[in-house]
């Protein structure tokens, strides 16, 4: 059962075709979020948001137009259709080549993520209670340091989409999500402060909150980080074996495999915003970026994932994509436009944040393929090394080549075992430097949530990124200034 009459969207598509569009698409999208924010166990804000409207996309005279409205009457939708058409037509003369989409077997389907407990169980009251408990856990887990600030934010998100296009697609989906965010600051009169953010987000129902065992996770992190904060040493200056924990690996593959393999970036469509890519079209299927361990998979179909979908917003069925395969740059993420330009088929990467956003190429769930070793086996023959378990600061250049991750929880490895804590080790490395120095991966595939930003106006979409713990040979670590 959809929240909007499919007939209105079909009418919009027909109206656009009548007005001269060669392609038309109308997408109804409703995003309902609600949640609480606490500071030091006291409520600061309780609220909700409903974004509901229709986004219309057309190709007219070879020019692509998009318009969004939240006036869900025929009059309102017609105004959006005509704005998309007239304003696209007004810039058509500047195009040298017409925009075209690849031919695809689009779907007609309806799917919904089943929940064990409804999102409604996570009332403001329930979430507030959880936030208070977690803050108490943090405060009782420290021994010597003070905790001047704890922020807790949690809530639910329900996303419904209905996409109709002139090629026959009709896709209805309902995806509920649950989210939790905890930030705390540890302070010591001589050592200054240390700050950590923990995030959880996945698709599913209210059952997710318990499955995350947040009290346990937070308590362990705080105890470990207090040790790092008070006793952490500088990392060695010489090149050493570095074991990069799955939290850092996940972000790293998102930034240095996912983004550079977005075909719109490869072709320059995001050049003035998120940038281009070191990957050029002639490198695909040929260029070696890393060792045999460098296999990065992008898969929207993982059940329970944060980036879950079965059809993209152009109606194309989703499937796993191998971005890097055994060290070779393999398959970029495509929508129907870039697929046409590169003479291939779309692999269903078009996503829109909300009704007011155009569908563009996005990641979903990106991860480095795990191996079969245990963590102990991964580090057993390292005489001197560093294990970077978590991070706070990171960034990467606009070509997705030069990147930096500053470790937060980190340890020396001595004679095959974890030893004393390390403070703020800096992994500043090129994409090829990382993937071509992987000498081992363990079997522990873990996923972490994120909100990936891209597009203009910027669109944040829910994703997961993950991987196993990864061993790099002979890397030089830096320290913060």
């Amino acid at each position: 059962m959809t929240s909007l009459d499919e007939g209105l969207l079909q009418w919009a598509v027909d109206k656009a075709l009548e007005a001269g569009a060669s392609y038309a698409e109308a997408r109804y999208q409703r995003d309902v979020t609600s949640g609480v924010i606490l500071r030091n166990a006291r409520t600061v804000g309780v609220g909700s948001e409903v974004r509901e409207g229709i986004g219309v996309r057309v190709i007219v005279n070879g020019s692509l137009g998009f318009a969004a409205t939240n006036t869900l009457s025929r009059e309102g939708v017609e105004r959006a259709v005509m704005a998309a058409i007239t304003r696209a037509r007004a810039t058509a003369s500047l195009r040298k080549t017409p925009i075209e989409f690849s031919d695809e077997r689009v779907g007609r389907a309806s799917y919904e993520v089943a929940v064990k407990r409804p999102l409604g169980d996570l009332t403001a009251e329930t979430l507030t209670e959880l936030g208070k408990k977690l803050t108490e856990t943090i405060n009782s887990s420290v021994k010597e340091v003070k905790v001047p600030a704890v922020m807790f934010q949690a809530g639910t998100r329900l996303q419904e989409k209905l996409v109709i296009n002139s090629d026959g697609a009709a896709i209805h989906s309902v995806v509920p999500r649950v989210t939790a965010f905890i930030n705390f600051v540890l302070a010591h009169p001589q050592k200054g402060t240390l700050q950590r953010t923990i995030e959880k987000e996945a698709s599913g129902g209210a059952e997710l909150i318990d499955s995350w065992r947040l009290e346990e996770v937070v308590s362990e992190e705080v105890r470990n980080l207090e040790k790092v904060f008070l006793k952490g040493v500088e990392p060695p200056k010489e090149p050493i074996d570095v074991v990069v924990g799955s939290e850092v690996v996940g972000l790293l593959v998102h930034e240095s495999a996912g983004h550079p393999m977005e075909a719109d970036r490869i072709l320059g469509r995001e050049a003035a915003q998120a940038g281009e890519s070191f990957v050029k079209p002639d490198m695909i299927g040929k260029y070696r970026i890393g060792t045999k361990y460098a296999t990065v998979i992008e898969d929207p179909t993982i059940p329970g994932s944060n980036g879950y979908y079965l059809f993209d917003d152009e109606g194309v069925p989703a499937r796993p994509r191998y971005l890097y395969k055994e060290g070779i740059i393999y398959e970029p993420l495509h929508n129907r436009h870039t697929a046409k330009l590169m003479g291939t088929s779309s692999n269903a990467a078009a996503r829109a944040m909300d009704y007011a956003s155009e569908p563009i190429i996005r990641m979903s769930n990106t991860y480095l393929k795990p191996g079969d070793m245990s963590f102990e086996e991964l580090i057993e023959d390292i005489k001197l090394g560093v294990f970077i378990k978590s991070y706070m600061e990171w960034n990467i250049d606009d070509m997705r080549w030069n990147q930096r991750y500053v470790g937060l929880e980190a340890y020396m490895i001595r004679n095959g075992e974890l030893a004393e804590p390390v403070r703020n080790p800096v992994l500043e490395i090129t994409t090829k430097g990382f993937y071509s120095n992987i000498v081992g991966v363990d079997k522990h595939l873990r996923f972490y949530p994120g909100t990936c930003g891209k597009g203009e106006p910027p669109q944040g979409v829910p994703v997961w990124f993950g991987g196993p713990d990864v061993r790099l040979a002979k890397i030089r670590l830096g320290v913060i200034a």
Partner: protein, 444 residues
């Protein structure tokens, strides 16, 4: 069609008897954006919609909601259970009653009729930007041109009524020549074709400023930051000047207080909501408090943390007119100019060092300590003996905001109106010379 204020009043009427405080904020927009890719439009996007935000409270318990609807009944419907929800909440730590309405002085000149006309023919202005970049020798360009009109209306149960309408222009262009690129941006309330041409010209100029490359060794350098880079970093500092950021542990101002020295005497940063040239200008904030221009940092001293009535009450002070119901924010930012007559003269003052013309991806390891890094994009140039000798490629500023503010030495007289993807708060900023900035690059 109802006006934004009529819509706000209509929603207010349905709610005001049921709560102690009710504020209804309506934003209606009509925007068009042309996005450029390989010197041609990739998409033309339009938004014609409305957003209704509602704040209600009872006995200090507060609930806020934001709805993308234009129908008062739909708002009423969405809020039908709020009364019951409120009974189960605890009072908000930052609750303060909505303020009694104060007279505010409306801002003149927020609407430029030329922007409204340009919305229907953005193509010709796009061409102006492209041509200016190509004339400088650029081979291809990408970028964005936005024209828009926004109407904001606020009605509260304390009797505040306010509505203002403003237009907006945002333009930025990235020009490429071979492996080098340049970038420039502009943001304003009015259409100024020369400013759009200047976006293209400066982007083209930085893409073609030199064909040489220079070697780079990580270390401390004297650095000139362009207004784009200054805008990006000051955006982060402006965000951290919010009282809520301070309270939540997301601010370098958590460890200091107004009156403390946080930078060199050359540093003055002002929140400037009364500057009608910039698109953040507004006469009243989201609680109906009249806005005023005020320094955040003046002559290197922290002067103001930005407040709404709730954070102000919590910290024992007055609202600065920066609500945000939950999170106070700056409206427009001014970075005070210096005395240096030109960019050339600033390069002479630099003598040896680095010019960073654009950056992105500023992230913090620790907000309280202000430990951050950011990556250069487009031209990052090595200067030797006052001359630009070559591109350094993509390098990173990895330092502490406190160091940057302390080592802030000189600035140009001229400021530039900047707004783009990486400078969200409309900003006027000069070129700035900062001594001894830590710059890095990967080892492998």
């Amino acid at each position: 069609m109802v006006t934004a204020l009529e819509l706000a009043e209509s929603v207010l009427k349905r709610l005001e008897g049921r709560f102690d405080d009710v504020a209804v904020l309506v934003r209606q927009r009509d925007y068009v954006m042309v996005k450029l890719w390989n010197t041609e439009p990739s998409v033309t996007q339009s938004w014609i919609d409305a957003k209704v935000s509602v704040l209600v409270s009872r006995n200090g318990r507060v609930f806020s909601t934001e709805l993308s609807v234009s129908d008062p009944d739909a708002v009423d419907n969405a809020l039908r259970n709020v009364g019951e929800i409120l009974t189960k909440l605890e009072p908000s730590e930052i609750y303060a009653p909505l303020p009694e309405p104060a007279e505010f002085k409306p801002l003149e000149g927020l609407v430029d009729q030329n922007v409204l006309k340009a919305m229907e023919e953005p193509g010709k202005y796009v061409e102006e930007m492209i041509d200016a970049a190509l004339k400088e020798g650029a081979e291809r360009v990408a970028g964005t041109l936005v024209f828009g009109r926004m109407t904001k209306a606020l009605a509260t149960n304390k009797g505040f009524r306010g509505m203002e309408e403003g237009t907006e222009v945002e333009a930025y262009l990235r020009a490429f020549k071979g492996e080098f690129s340049g970038h420039w941006a502009h943001g304003s309330r009015a259409l100024d074709v020369n400013a759009l041409r200047e976006v293209g010209r400066r982007a083209g100029m930085y893409a073609t400023v030199t064909n040489s490359k220079a070697d780079f060794t990580p270390g401390k350098y004297d650095v000139i930051l362009s207004p784009l880079v200054v805008g990006n970093l000051i955006d982060a500092i402006g965000w951290m000047s919010s009282a809520m950021a301070v309270m939540m542990g997301f601010s370098m101002f958590m460890k200091v207080k107004p009156g403390d020295k946080v930078g060199s005497e050359a540093v003055t940063i002002i929140d400037a909501p009364r500057d009608t040239e910039l698109a953040g200008s507004t006469a009243f904030d989201d609680e109906g408090v009249p806005t005023k221009d005020k320094p955040i940092i003046k002559d290197g001293v922290l002067v103001n943390i930005l407040h709404n009535t709730g954070t102000a009450k919590k910290m024992g002070t007055e609202s600065t007119g920066n609500a945000g119901w939950l999170f106070p924010t700056p409206w427009n930012l001014h970075v005070a100019p210096g005395n240096v007559k030109s960019e050339e003269e600033l390069i002479s003052e630099l003598r040896n060092g680095v010019i960073i013309t654009n950056n992105w991806y500023t992230r913090l390891q620790n907000y309280v300590e202000g430990i951050f890094s950011t990556v250069s994009r487009d031209a990052a140039l090595l200067v030797k003996n006052g001359e630009i000798v070559g591109h350094l490629g993509r390098i990173r500023i990895a330092d502490r905001f406190a160091n940057l503010l302390s080592n802030w030495e000189l600035a140009t007289k001229e400021t530039h109106k900047i707004r783009w993807w990486e400078v969200e708060t409309p900003t006027k900023a000069p070129y700035v010379l900062i001594r001894q900035v830590n710059l890095t690059k990967p080892f492998i």
